[in-house]
């Protein structure tokens, strides 16, 4: 049993956004641990808080309208306590991020090679030549064809898949140990998506990276993740090894999510199983379980108390009071 401390240790994270008329508690007490070399997928829908969690690890939120408290420790570094200068060092070197739309994340007026070189030189005393060599080898690593030529191209001149590879190269330029991926394959075609997912898996294996992968697509999560965590209304409601979560989910939301997927085995003319209602308004969350009003298994106690996380097995945690009822439900038809 691995007794090393986790590489990423998030405890009781709360994030409030105060920019609008009412404060919005986007994250309400998230605990997340990621070991070295482990891939964790965060699944959820709009408003679940998965992207906010990810961005908190790099402190990408606007300082003015964001309140964060709790604990975020990455590689022994207390992220919430970093000064601005230390934060700039931390980003890229310890943890870095790839985004959903590379065109928005890459600078359009510099070639991709120049951006990688700049990042390398920012984080260490490396000569320009060496930085350029490293950029070239990164491009080869992410399997961009004709890498030497491509270093000179601009982001808009590249196709979608290639841009995403370039962004991965940029993220890995300074040898981070944690890679944060915010829906990196959502905007890609199916045949390109599977290439990028496999590339990420291969890179992760070769480099021993820890990866936190945010997505709304359960299929993509299953392809890359060792563990999956499901988020709802700013909390993690269930987390566990990918196989357990997919085959024997125990939280009603996870169950409902899996059952509402359209897939090949459904009979023609049947209807999808839907989750009644709509996601909650984060600025006015109920006292009890946030999912209770949409839940088939909800009882009175659910509406009154926040369910604490129960360990169903060593690695499988569920925040639900009705796990007995869900133990016999079939997830996938």
């Amino acid at each position: 049993m691995n007794t090393d401390p986790p590489f990423v240790d998030v405890r009781n994270l709360h994030v409030n956004f105060t920019g609008g008329r009412k404060p919005v508690p986007a994250i309400n007490g998230v605990d997340l641990q990621v070991r070295r070399g482990e891939v964790v997928a965060l699944i959820g829908e709009s408003g679940s808080g998965k992207s906010v969690t990810l961005r908190s690890l790099l402190r990408l939120h606007q300082k003015r309208h964001t309140q964060m408290h709790g604990q975020i420790i990455v590689g022994g570094v207390d992220v919430l306590g970093l000064t601005d200068a230390a934060l700039a060092d931390y980003r890229g070197k310890v943890a870095s991020m790839i985004f959903q739309e590379p065109l928005l994340a890459l600078d359009p007026v510099y070639s991709v090679g120049a951006q990688i070189v700049e990042s390398i030189m920012r984080h260490g005393r490396v000569s320009k030549n060496d930085a350029h060599q490293r950029a070239l080898s990164l491009f080869e690593r992410v399997q961009i064809p004709s890498p030497k030529r491509r270093l000179q191209t601009y982001p808009h001149e590249m196709s979608g898949g290639m841009r995403q590879r370039a962004m991965i190269a940029l993220a890995l330029a300074c040898n981070p140990q944690l890679l944060l991926a915010d829906e990196p394959t959502t905007a890609l075609d199916a045949t390109v998506q599977i290439q990028i997912l496999l590339l990420l898996r291969e890179l992760q294996r070769d480099l021993g990276l820890s990866v936190i992968f945010v997505t709304h697509d359960i299929g993509a999560a299953v392809e890359v993740a060792d563990r999956i965590a499901v988020m709802y209304a700013g909390r993690i409601v269930e987390e566990g090894p990918a196989a357990n979560l997919i085959r024997t989910p125990r939280h009603p939301y996870t169950l409902a999510l899996l059952r509402s997927r359209a897939h090949g085995a459904l009979t023609k003319g049947s209807r999808l199983v839907t989750i009644p209602g709509a996601p909650p308004d984060l600025s006015s969350l109920p006292n009890g379980c946030a999912f209770a009003e949409r839940c088939n298994f909800a009882q009175d106690e659910c509406r009154q108390n926040q369910p604490a996380a129960i360990a169903l097995s060593t690695n499988h945690l569920v925040s639900c009071l009705q796990t007995d009822a869900t133990s016999n439900v079939v997830a996938l038809a």
């Binding site: 919005v24 709009s46 408003g47 959903q100 739309e101 979608g160 829906e183 959502t186 905007a187 890609l188 075609d189 709304h216 709509a278 996601p279 909650p280 308004d281 984060l282 600025s283 006015s284």
Partner: protein
């Protein structure tokens, strides 16, 4: 294929109140009312407009009465609170009555140019293609001239006088307004809801009337209001050069011209009409800025 996940709008889904929420323009009005700078600017403009309308009746002295004995009296003289000009006329009275002509010369060309320029620009923007090129390249020819030169040239060609300066100023402002109108219309034209309207079989006029106008007139109007200050200054410039208002009519630009010689003896008095132009320009600019901010409502 680019699919950006829709940002979290979960907060909108909760029980909406039964009663009607305000429409777009009401929301703009509410936001404008909260903008203190814009309110002050609006009040200043209101005062100036009142001055323009009623100034003539409220002047302490006759703005046209000359007096060779009372020439260039300084500010604070008894009977002449702001002094007198080079012909002995009361500055305060002339400034008050001057508001009428100056504002008229500033606002009217912009209103006319707004109507004509919008029509031209929206047509070009909606039609696209060959028609658009034809219209916009013609507009560009006029746009190439610096506005001051163009105004002077047109005024010179038409002759001096208020009507002619109004015409030349209107012509000067049509191209920039048309450009903005074309640009905004082209953006709206590309939106899916216009395609949806086309797909429902509506004709071009109907689509422009129902779908385009409501979305473009606002931004064009804001741009046009920012031109009022420029129009006033240009009109003053034309009067300064003798191409606009003719003496003895009080108009701030003309007054700047005739008081030129007094810069060395009574600089404060010579500057007064300029101060009025300055105040008016700033007020209009601030109001149009406020309007622009109020209109940027993110849905």
């Amino acid at each position: 294929m680019n699919l950006l996940r829709v940002q979290s709008d979960a907060s909108k889904v909760m029980a909406l109140p039964y009663d009607r929420t305000p429409g777009y323009w009401q929301t703009v009005g509410q936001r404008l009312l909260r903008d203190k700078v814009a309110i002050v600017a609006a009040l200043v403009i209101l005062l100036l407009l009142l001055l323009a309308l009623f100034g003539g009746m409220l002047t302490p002295s006759d703005p046209y009465k000359t007096s060779m004995l009372s020439r260039l009296k300084p500010i604070g003289t008894a009977n002449f609170p702001l002094g007198t000009d080079e012909l002995g006329r009361d500055m305060l009275s002339r400034l008050m009555v001057g508001a009428r002509l100056s504002l008229f010369m500033g606002i009217t060309p912009v209103i006319l140019a707004f109507i004509i320029g919008s029509a031209v620009g929206i047509t070009a923007g909606y039609a696209g293609g060959y028609v658009n090129s034809l219209i916009m390249r013609t507009i560009d020819v006029f746009y190439a001239f610096p506005s001051v030169l163009l105004a002077i040239a047109l005024s010179g060609a038409l002759g001096a006088g208020i009507t002619n300066s109004l015409i030349s100023l209107t012509v000067v402002f049509i191209p920039p307004i048309a450009r903005v109108a074309e640009s905004v219309t082209t953006q709206i034209r590309g939106r899916d809801f216009v395609d949806a309207a086309r797909a429902s079989g509506a004709g071009a006029f109907t689509i422009v009337r129902v779908h385009v106008l409501g979305n473009v007139l606002g931004p064009i109007f804001v741009y046009a209001t920012s031109l009022i200050a420029v129009a006033m200054i240009l009109a003053s410039g034309l009067s300064f050069l003798g191409l606009g208002v003719k003496p003895p009519e009080p108009e701030w630009g003309l007054m700047l011209n005739t008081l030129r010689t007094a810069i060395y003896s009574q600089p404060w008095i010579a500057a007064l009409p300029g101060v009025m132009i300055f105040i008016t320009s700033i007020a209009f600019n601030l109001l149009s800025d406020g309007l622009r901010s109020a209109m940027e409502i993110k849905g």
